[in-house]
Subunit: 333 residues, 2 copies
């Protein structure tokens, strides 16, 4: 959206659903009435419904279901997060672009949003199902002063921010669970994936990229078959459509203080909130390590470094899991 | 260098300083005599001295002082390191390009070489003085299966490979010292800088980029004034020019088994060799941490995780330094 269109949109918003004359618009925005008309046409092409009342002016009747930066930033109560949003109809991967932008030196908090990803990525080289205009795919560039050893804390912080936002939307935290380290489950099914990538110089973080994909309005019946049984969307769970713009805004608003706590205090600053959403204690999990070895154990909890504490099923001594893939085993009847 | 020129060069080399007829060259390489002549001209433009003996053929009289991949790879005894070299007369930063190549998926061991860097980088955002055609600037892409916490081992491994190669050139290890974590000193002055950058997914290394700059033939008098007192080159130290091609070849050959040991056994696999070049025990150092705080202490050694063990000068308990900047304090008389 160009600046002129954004200013006209802002003026229509200030009218609060009322009518705004072309005369007033052109005076307030310092452009000709012909230009006002041009900007209104551009907004309509973007999906804004703008009614023209003969002799009275223009009225903003509805906004499109698009994650336009102007919509998200309208009333966004953050100080540094998502103050710069790069928006795309379609992109290969929001993380790929955010990583490029981070290397080019964009500011802390710069965010990428795409309506669709053609090569959305998940952890361990997996793909992330990213159909258009239904969900939220965003990647955030962070520049904390931190050692790479501290970086996993930001994954847990992101999961907390997402879980809080989903719990607000659902109106209850009871059905929301963080599956360590980086999935958020809703009613026991995956509703969000988080992929953190980082660039570092030796032991020092140069930047982090937090990729967050939340299934909002996608119809669970359209999931690829291999995900269908384990995945859901907020709309699928609640049986009503989700306002994606408002969800994105609240997500950034919830993430900002969580990420700040992480920068200030490290994992200690967010662990209590992580544990509030953590329900894996006592459950049996199967762990696949980097070498492809698999073993099972019972979850004891999270330690002060964010690692999963496991009592191995073979009776061996307690283990810490810092990486690898964790699957919840089926509950016994 | 195109493939045809590379094949003609290889045939001239096989003649071992003898003459090779244009007829034989054209038959062996399957190209016309006119093409042989074209390739010889191209090689001459690259600085190869190729003498034409009337009625007898061509003779390779000398090779240019350029780090052409064909020169380095001629007789290179590595299996995977520097089998793919990307060569540039000039580049902004070999690390920048190697990082880009790593993200694009190039193979383990792919190396970048440039004769000059216009924006050569050192640690902590500093610049690295990179004059043309005098030194060795190379960046290596590695893809170990490793956690980010293990990554610092590769910095120490690189320092070992460089120190071994410099010791071979100097003919003695006595004047060669590794200044923890990543400088190699010759006669007490910096002769090499190493900059490791990494890309990671959460706790898992996606790739490492090892940037190595060795001062070979640069005249120490031309160093920027702020480095001059602390820096040297091999030629400055030895008083004779260094064969850059042969140095580069031996560096890759020394690095390959060191990096393999690191991948196989982690830091444990290289620590004894690191300690052989480590002479900081008992010396007083000043440490600047990430927050810019500075303190001094006496070096006790290296621990099993590669951290510097320090006895603080203020009498406090032993500390471990994993990052930050370390300066050797002047020796007491």
């Amino acid at each position: 959206m160009n600046n002129g269109a954004a200013r006209v949109l802002e003026a229509l918003r200030r009218a609060g659903g009322g009518t705004c004359s072309g005369e007033i618009l052109s005076q307030a925005e310092g452009v000709s009435r012909a230009q006002v008309w041009k900007h209104v046409e551009a907004l309509r092409r973007d999906g804004y419904v703008i009614e023209a009342e003969p002799g009275e002016g223009y009225r903003l009747a509805s906004v499109p279901d698009r994650l336009f930066p102007e919509e998200i930033q309208h009333g966004l109560a953050t100080r540094w997060l998502a103050r710069d949003i790069r928006y795309f109809d379609e992109i290969d991967s929001t993380n790929r672009l955010a990583f490029d932008l981070a290397r080019e030196g964009v500011a802390n908090g710069t965010s990428v949003i795409a309506e669709a990803q053609t090569a959305g990525r998940g952890r361990l080289g997996r793909s992330f199902f990213s159909p258009p205009c239904a969900n939220l795919y965003t990647s955030i560039v962070l520049r904390p002063e931190a050692l790479t050893t501290a970086a996993p804390a930001w994954i847990l912080a992101s999961a907390v921010g997402v879980a809080d936002t989903i719990a607000e939307e659902v109106g209850s935290a009871a059905e929301v669970e963080i599956k360590w380290p980086n999935d958020v489950l809703l009613g026991g099914r995956k509703s969000c994936g988080i992929l953190m990538e980082l660039g570092a110089e030796a032991t020092r973080v140069a930047f982090l990229v937090l990729g967050i994909g939340v299934n909002l309005n996608v119809d669970p019946a359209t999931f690829p078959e291999e995900f269908r049984a384990q995945a859901t969307s907020l709309a699928g769970f609640l049986g009503r459509p989700i306002d994606r713009i408002s969800f994105a805004r609240r997500l950034y608003e919830n993430l900002e203080p969580t990420l700040e706590a992480c920068t200030r205090e490290g994992l200690r600053g967010i662990l209590p909130r992580f544990e509030a959403h953590f329900r894996m204690q006592g459950r049996t999990v199967r762990i696949q390590d980097l070498e492809g070895q698999s073993r099972s154990g019972c979850v004891l909890g999270i330690d002060e470094e964010g690692a999963l504490r496991i009592a191995p099923s073979d009776g061996g001594p307690e283990e810490r899991v810092v990486a690898g893939d964790v699957t919840l085993e089926k509950e016994r009847a």
